[in-house]
């Protein structure tokens, strides 16, 4: 059996509603988290993201200044200052299919429709900790692989094409350091 050491995780909660922030804080603390930073608008959230470098971002969709969707898009900029790979869990009252699709295409990792439940939040956190997906970069997208099904039997119009061209192995920091000696 596996368990998550929540006391080793740093969270960023982004929601303009203080009651919802209180509920999220209560849930995370109950899970065992000790570091949970809070932002009440998109601009503060981006600043805190860059400063505190959280392991996981939990964001609402609707927020002042700029919303959770725009926050996700800014975090996912490959050339951004912060870590563009951090898991983003979008917690929102929007539950229409098109909203889920828009959030997915903005680079959101997991989507959790309100009402909040302890089980739902825990499951999403477990997903991003234990089963992270690779990232995909195209001309128009950078973010977690949007496919949940990784079989290669799909032959529909959105099948990825081109075949494997080249494997680029990025050297580790240690290898780079050693080679420079």
């Amino acid at each position: 059996m596996f368990r998550i050491d929540f006391n080793k995780l740093r969270f960023l909660i982004c929601d303009d509603n203080p009651h919802m922030r209180r509920i999220l804080r209560t849930l995370l603390h109950s899970f065992g988290a000790r570091e949970a930073y809070e932002a009440e608008d998109g601009a503060t959230a981006l600043e805190m993201y860059t400063h505190y470098v959280p392991d996981i971002v939990i964001t609402d969709w609707s927020m002042p200044i700029f919303d959770g969707l725009e926050l996700a898009q800014m975090i996912r900029q490959p050339e951004s200052k912060g870590n563009p790979y951090a898991p983003i869990i979008m917690l929102t009252g929007h539950s229409e299919k098109r909203r889920v699709t828009v959030a997915r295409d903005a680079g959101v990792t997991e989507f959790l429709a309100k009402p909040i439940s302890a089980k739902g939040l825990y499951q999403r956190i477990l997903n991003v900790v234990a089963s992270p997906r690779p990232f995909i970069k195209t001309k128009t997208y950078f973010g977690p692989d949007r496919r949940r099904n990784t079989t290669n039997t799909y032959i529909g119009p959105e099948r990825r094409i081109g075949g494997e061209v080249e494997v680029l192995q990025q050297p580790s920091l240690l290898d780079k350091a050693r080679s420079s000696i």
Binding site: M1, F2, R3, I4, D5, F6, K8, L9, R10, N17, H19, M20, I23, T26, L27, H29, S30, F31, G32, D55, I56, S62, Y85, G93, S95, E96, K97, R98, V100, A113, K114, P115, I116, S117, A118, K119, G120, L121, Y122, Q123, V129, A130, P134, F135, I136, K137, T138, I161, G162, G163, E164, V165, E166, V167, L168, Q169, Q170, P171, L173, L174
Partner: protein, 192 residues
């Protein structure tokens, strides 16, 4: 937890895209434990949430009053962008929060109101009674929450409001297929 970017990132190039695989830095927080040592963080969190529930009614009263105030501003000055936005945000917050606070019927009524604001072609032409009924319903649900017969009444109220709102929206959007599609699409709530 480590702050720096992953030390080794593997990039596979394809014709139309790159697949980027990084070592999972969060893997370190997963620990293997014996079943007898496994605690239940979800149960702990649910208990903590139940402990907060004493404050939920006050929170709902605040949210409902905010909605009423937003509506009063519209009655006074009409539907300008700011007023419509505030009404939508107040309704949207209730839609998202109310079920968590134990008021699922208020969430249904608030969602119906959000749909009206989002999909009505011209807000000024929405029958004022339609919006007023939604707001009155939410206030009634919040203020009568502790009555034994309130759950059935509240559920029926939410259902009927949604039915009337949807009928109105389908009528005024009959020439706007993209709105019609959104109005008629079922809600998708990912399974837990």
């Amino acid at each position: 937890m480590a702050k720096e970017k992953p030390a080794e990132i593997k990039v596979k190039a394809f014709g139309t895209h790159y697949v980027i695989t990084q070592p999972n830095p969060l893997r370190k927080v997963l620990r293997r434990v014996d079943e007898r040592d496994l605690d239940d963080p979800v149960a702990r969190a649910e208990e903590a949430l139940a402990g907060l529930s004493g404050e939920f009614q006050d929170w709902m009263l605040v949210e409902a009053d905010r909605l009423t105030a937003a509506h009063a501003a519209i009655l006074k000055s009409g539907f300008n962008d700011k007023a419509a936005e505030e009404l939508f945000r107040a309704a949207h917050d209730i839609k998202g929060d109310a079920a968590t606070f134990g008021y699922p019927s208020a969430a249904v009524a608030a969602e119906s109101l959000c749909r009206i604001i989002e999909h009505a072609p011209e807000l000024e032409k929405v029958p004022p009674e339609l919006i007023k009924h939604h707001i009155n319903a939410i206030q009634a649900i919040v203020h009568n929450h502790t009555r034994l017969d309130s759950t059935k009444v509240a559920t029926e109220l939410g259902r009927r409001l949604r039915g009337v709102a949807d009928e109105y929206l389908m009528h005024v959007n009959r020439d706007r297929p993209e709105h019609l599609e959104a109005i008629m699409a079922p809600s998708i709530v990912p399974a837990e």
